[in-house]
Amino acid sequence: MTENSSYLSWGRFPRAHHIPVRLHDRHAALPNCEPKMLPYGNGRSYGDCCLNDGGVLLDTRGLDRFIDFDSKSGVMRCEAGILLRDILDFAVPRGWFLPVVPGTQLITVGGAIANDIHGKNHHRAGTFGAHVLRLELLRSDGSRLECSPEREPEWFASTIGGLGLTGLITWAEIHLKPILNPWIDVETIRYPDLETFFELSAEADRDYEYTVAWVDSSALGRSLGRGLFIRGNHASNTKNNGPSGPGRGLMVPFEIPFSLMTPLSIRVLNQTYYYSQISSRRRKTIHYAPFFFPLDGIAFWNRIYGPPGFLQYQFVVPMEHGPGVVRKTIEQSARSRMRSFMTVLKVFGDHRSYGLLSYPRPGVTLALDFPNRGGELFKLLDKLDDIVAAAGGAVYPAKDARMSGQHFRRFYPEWDRLCEYVDPRFSSSLWRRLIG
């Protein structure tokens, strides 16, 4: 087995060396080796939760088979390395859709469970984990546990959102939801300030299954928080003539040697995007792919940030602190001359997530991404951690590469319960950084 540095996280920071082991047969045992292991899906988490520097990385992409599909109930059983894209390609023509999808379809089912991901319908459907009926966990001692809310519920709760540490998820059973066609009726509303966002959100969450807002990070003062509010429902018409899916798309073929994302270019791009919608309301019917996964159209878009990579920062705070913390966050970033390129704002629903360490919880969530500019940025993010902690919120580990162990323990008080379920032969860069 040789070390290899080609496995990255999506933020391309930090870099790590791994001993990769490719898995192809879910019936096979885990490798018996000295360094600790971590399952790796499609490398779409941003920080170091999918990295295991100096250790073994179990590449699960070869576990990509369907096992069973009941076309009457929509219950699908599949191996954990299958991409959400492959499930959708299969299920959509048959009238089914994934109950929860994130901003990219290029993630594996195992990754979706291990990070208990959420999507634009969190206020209706909760997290991905809420739709997992059961799963199989393969432990390093060779035992296989079939877990569900009824059977081995503690193992189930620790594996959902368990950051891949409780063992290898070999397969999972997911409840798909019925749809009539692949299209989404979308309405995009240009809104002028943060207050309007919360009004729109409260109103839209009643009538729309999917809601999210893109925030113009260049706007400060009175218009801070302005952006485009996007809300949608699965189209109800059964006609066969809607728009088709995307074609091949574009690709960033290599790592740009310097970051294209300078404070100025980010400001200009954000303003341009905000004003690119001329009317204040626009309705249209589009294919589900550009609605849910707009950035998947550009393969390896993360390469535009150059060799240093970038950092995502996503937090959630209780509703009553929402407006204040969102404002403070954007102001603080502007003050340290850091601008977020893609800023996304959403109000989570009241669903309790099943996982011990699940990130989503009732409140307001804001995601920002920053070109990695080293020390200054880290100082800013530390400050933001303090603000989030003071408001009783949490930072999302799937996007984190730098928070302190102290903050993590405060955000996730159940961490010590998870420790009991962590496989003794499993570990990750993130876990060692946060827990030791």
């Binding site: 040789t2 490719r22 192809h24 047969d25 019936h27 369907f66 069973d68 191996e79």
Partner: protein, 240 residues
């Protein structure tokens, strides 16, 4: 599908399954075969049967083929995809290993092709598709045991194509370049590498168009043209 657990065969089977074909899978590992079979059924295959066999047991090949014909009610396409990537250095030190590799990559294939040719000749329709390799176009110092075994199959297929042409049976020689699969997991990957899915698309496309010889991806045709045109005097001093 002979050697159905190979990455290229599995990827090809997925495409055929989604078109609703009936498939008979042959391979060494029963567990892996049944996972693949379940997957193909979900994807829409009309019927999937499995048969556990080490293709090096040539005496059992005939029986396997008759079972395939019985359970599927006849064959339209046979894809032969089994093989191993030989460890060249180890082969150089061991006659036994060299012959073993030849047995797997050439002799067992030729044995099977003899059965298949007779079946298809009698039924006067269908396609025999066999995965050989670009490595068979010219022996190279770094993997000539593997390459020469594949060359043997390529030459055999060329003759077989002439023989079966008269009765309307197609013989497809598939020459993939570097494919990122479990067989090559230990090798360093570069620009020329493709995923099994890409090769599988090329195979089904070639089957649909009843082609004779395909390089997958197609740029390998140019590369191998240049490699085969090079005078031996220059070629012998290359370290490739």
């Amino acid at each position: 599908m002979i050697g159905a657990t190979s990455a290229i065969a599995e990827a090809t089977a997925r495409i055929l399954a989604s078109r609703g074909h009936a498939l008979f899978l042959v391979g060494r590992r029963g567990d892996a075969l049944s996972s693949i079979a379940a997957d193909l059924r979900v994807r829409g295959a009309a019927q999937v049967e499995t048969h556990v066999l080490d293709l090096n047991c040539i005496e059992s090949q005939g029986e396997m083929l008759s079972r395939a014909v019985t359970v599927l009610g006849g064959l339209d396409v046979a894809l032969v995809a089994h093989g191993t990537l030989s460890d060249q250095k180890a082969c150089e030190r061991s006659v036994e290993l060299t012959l073993q590799e030849f047995y797997t990559n050439a002799l067992s294939v030729i044995s099977l092709l003899t059965h298949l040719a007779n079946y298809f000749e009698e039924n006067r329709h269908g396609t025999i598709a066999v995965i050989t390799s670009v490595a068979g176009d010219r022996g190279r110092g770094s993997n000539y045991v593997y390459g020469s075994a594949k060359a043997c199959v390529t030459a055999y297929l060329s003759g077989l194509r002439q023989r079966l042409h008269a009765c309307g049976v197609c013989v497809l020689t598939i020459k993939p370049g570097y494919v990122d699969s479990p067989m090559t997991a230990h090798l360093k990957k570069g620009l020329l590498w493709v995923r099994p899915r890409t090769v599988a698309n090329g195979i089904t496309n070639a089957l649909d168009k009843k082609k004779d010889v395909v390089y997958l991806p197609r740029f390998w045709w140019i590369i191998m043209r240049l490699v085969t045109l090079m005078p031996e005097r220059w070629f012998r001093s290359l370290k490739i």
